[in-house]
């Protein structure tokens, strides 16, 4: 099976029109677009994504506009879209209404960072009802039993956090990350995608070589948006970054 590139940006950073433009650029080389719902208190995120959340919220981003962006994107592309969020915006809207709107807008999957598998019974049954794929995160210190539970609860892929820490660009990949990837691969029936700290072609290549089914990249793109703002330059650089990462994936797949 082809190895995947998942490209993450924050919805509404710096505004919804720009996000749509960036999604189109990224989708040229990405297999899945991951769209983050900005949150006032993103405790699992490093500084880069925190700042993106603030830019989006300060410019009036709303949950309902995330669905608008997806709806608009669907006019141009069939690239699958996964939404990443903290639980509170979903809880606040009502889980069922959120899932219904996500499905109707054309979204395909959902990651709720701070919803543990133990509390996901209702969540899983409603995701199933509305045809939304589920993705749960696993970390390097997750026990084997839990990895199996996480795998069972996931229907699209298992998102493997490659390090102890928050999101953000890191220079190197640790051997711990590779060991953990190998362990997780053995335990999961779902594809295993690796994320957190991946920003370069070589990172992507190394994870794919060691058995990852895909890589998730976020902060590397968000840094480009931070630097170049709402411009054609940004779209071009995002496209180049996605191309570079996809090359890494292809090289790693050989």
């Amino acid at each position: 099976m082809d190895k995947k590139l998942v490209s993450f940006i924050v919805a509404g950073d710096p505004n919804p029109e720009a996000t749509l433009k960036f999604m189109k650029a990224l989708s040229k080389h990405s297999d899945i677009i991951e769209l983050g719902i900005p949150f006032s208190d993103p405790m699992a995120d490093g500084e880069t994504i925190q700042m993106a959340d603030i830019r989006a919220l300060n410019n009036g981003m709303k949950v309902s506009k995330v669905f608008d962006i997806i709806r608009e994107f669907r006019k141009y592309s069939n690239t699958p879209i996964v939404v990443m969020t903290y639980y509170n915006p979903v809880f606040n809207m009502g889980l069922e209404r959120f899932l219904k709107e996500l499905k109707e807008s054309g979204g395909n999957g959902l990651i709720v960072v701070d919803l543990p598998v133990e509390d996901s019974e209702e969540y899983l049954s409603l995701c199933k009802k509305y045809g939304i794929n589920t993705i749960f995160l696993a970390a390097p210190n997750t026990s084997e039993d839990r990895i199996k539970r996480i795998d069972n609860a996931s229907s699209m892929f298992v998102y493997l956090v490659s390090l102890y820490g928050t999101t953000g660009v890191r220079r190197e990949i640790s051997n711990l990350a590779i060991d953990f990837l190998k362990r997780t691969k053995k335990l999961c029936k779902n594809p295993v995608y690796v994320g957190f700290g991946i920003s370069e072609k070589e990172h992507a290549k190394r994870f794919i070589e060691n058995g990852a089914d895909g890589v998730v990249v976020g902060s590397a793109y968000v840094k480009i948006i931070e630097e170049y703002g709402d411009s054609e330059e940004t779209a071009k650089k995002l496209e180049e970054k996605a191309m570079e990462l996809k090359e890494g994936i292809l090289e790693g797949s050989k």
Partner: protein, 389 residues
Amino acid sequence: MEMRFGKYGGQYVPEVLIPSLKELEKAYKEYKDDPEFKEELDYYLKNYAGRETPLYFAENLTKKIGGAKIYLKREDLLLGGAHKINNSIGQALLAKKMGKTRLIAETGAGEHGLSSAMVGALFKMKTRIYMGAIDVERQKLNVYKMKLHGAEVYPVESGSKTLKDAINEALRDWVETFEDTYYLIGSVVGPYPYPSIVRDFQSVIGKEAKKQILDIEGKLPECIVACVGGGSNSIGIFNEFKNYKEVKLIGVEAAGEGLDTEKHAAALLKGKEGILHGMLSYFLQDEDGQIRPTHSISAGLDYPGVGPEHAYLKDMGAVEYVGITDEEALNAFLELSKTEGIIPALESSHALAHAMKIAKEMDSDEIIIVNLSGRGDKDLDTVMNYVKF
């Protein structure tokens, strides 16, 4: 120990923190009833922190107001000047048992940061305190004290730069450092098992108060009043009394500039159910589920959420929750300073203000206990802006 209080509480955290919380739960269950651990805890509470604290009959204040007898549970007399030390000693001992060598803590008013810095020095643990940049500015004295004890104070510049952001940053630290680091949460908030652990360590307040009032008055009080930010001093005193229906429990939230304005921190009175900092509870938030900025004259109450057990006690009708404005709290601060020669913390002044309101309506043989959770020295900079001599 309870994972949830009714539907509230839980463990809403990123996956990487789950093993650390399980480790903490296991350790706490192992030690909480261990005679040696309890003996050690009692030793430090007595000889280091200064327990037991007096239950003081505020006779001048009672006479001036007319009505119920007002007693003050003097947590302000503890080392550091607040009830926070009860919990910090307990958790730091637990951290030591777990083999951790580093402490991190969040703080708003600086009281929990200070008590964490103190136990860090006492137990020779490297300590870092996360504190919102705005709070660093308005609580300079406490910041200085923390540094005296050898702690590193990390000003948090993200978000609203107050307590909630300090918690976010402490959690981000913990995600990376849990192997050698203990996160010493200062209130009955956060993911399970923290709300239970902090309640247990603070429940010494209520245990003492019950024994003391029975010794002095030969009966239980009609009413107990305590302020509620995250809710640790109030849970600490309520816990011992919650099974006595004849004792009315009142939690006082910060009504800031008024409950009908945007500038308050009354999560239970004006918030709605939500999920933040690992718990399902009440939070002040906008229509989109974004957490709202809060306001209170007292940094210790300036938090958009509240501990999950309070949410449950509110739903059950077991505790009455009310609001006191900045102005009312300030007046109570001045009143106690003048009539009793005791300077209360602005947080505790909220509880005092409400007690002064209701004492008038009560009979002279009735009793109110106010949990005087801290002393007001730390607040003098703030108060000087309002009151000139």
